[in-house]
């Protein structure tokens, strides 16, 4: 069942295209960031993280970019697949384990 915001921004992409999901974070002092993926009826799932002393980190098909100047985080998904359809959240934290979540972006992948 759905349990995310009614007015989530939505990104629609065609299968095989690259996706870029953006996030503006709130605290310029935040030093650790995580991207989560949440599928319908499931809990958020860790995708990739990045510390504030880096500006780019790559995983398998995913890349996170951090721009501290404008407090902006992005998640790039290469060769987007139908299984990537979900809501994506960014989360930030400062020196603690207390994560502050953004509102989320819904990714829809069309064949």
């Amino acid at each position: 069942g759905e349990s995310v915001g009614l007015h989530l921004p939505t990104l629609s992409v065609q299968e095989g295209d690259n996706s870029i999901i953006n996030c503006a974070y709130s605290n310029s002092a935040s030093d650790y960031f995580i991207w989560y993926k949440q599928e319908s009826g499931k809990g958020p799932q860790f995708i990739i993280d990045i510390r504030s002393n880096m500006d780019k980190r790559q995983g398998q098909r995913v890349t996170v970019l951090l721009n501290k100047t404008v407090k902006h985080l992005s998640l790039q998904i290469a060769a987007t697949q139908p299984g990537d359809s979900a809501v994506y959240f960014c989360a930030e934290t400062l020196n603690t384990d207390k994560l502050i979540f953004g509102t989320g972006t819904r990714l829809q992948v069309f064949p």
Partner: protein, 112 residues
Amino acid sequence: DARVTQTPRHKVTEMGQEVTMRCQPILGHNTVFWYRQTMMQGLELLAYFRNRAPLDDSGMPKDRFSAEMPDATLATLKIQPSEPRDSAVYFCASGLGQLATFFGPGTRLTVL
């Protein structure tokens, strides 16, 4: 495959009843979180523990909610008395230090 487990997965109850949700964090993790997710508010942190000690419960309505960790393998979130506005999905998550936090599957609570 280590994962956070939560019980029950679904709970329907009537207003005024007590609700207890349970969580088993990943073995070895020393931080445990309770989040609530609703369509209107998104993901909200209710409380979290480190080494079983409560560190922050500022997001939790104190008059009706309580969170405890009786031991390192069990965290509980209790609502007494429950109200319709408590209807939401409640997630438990665990982590180690400042490493990534891993979420359980959630308890979907409906209060009639």
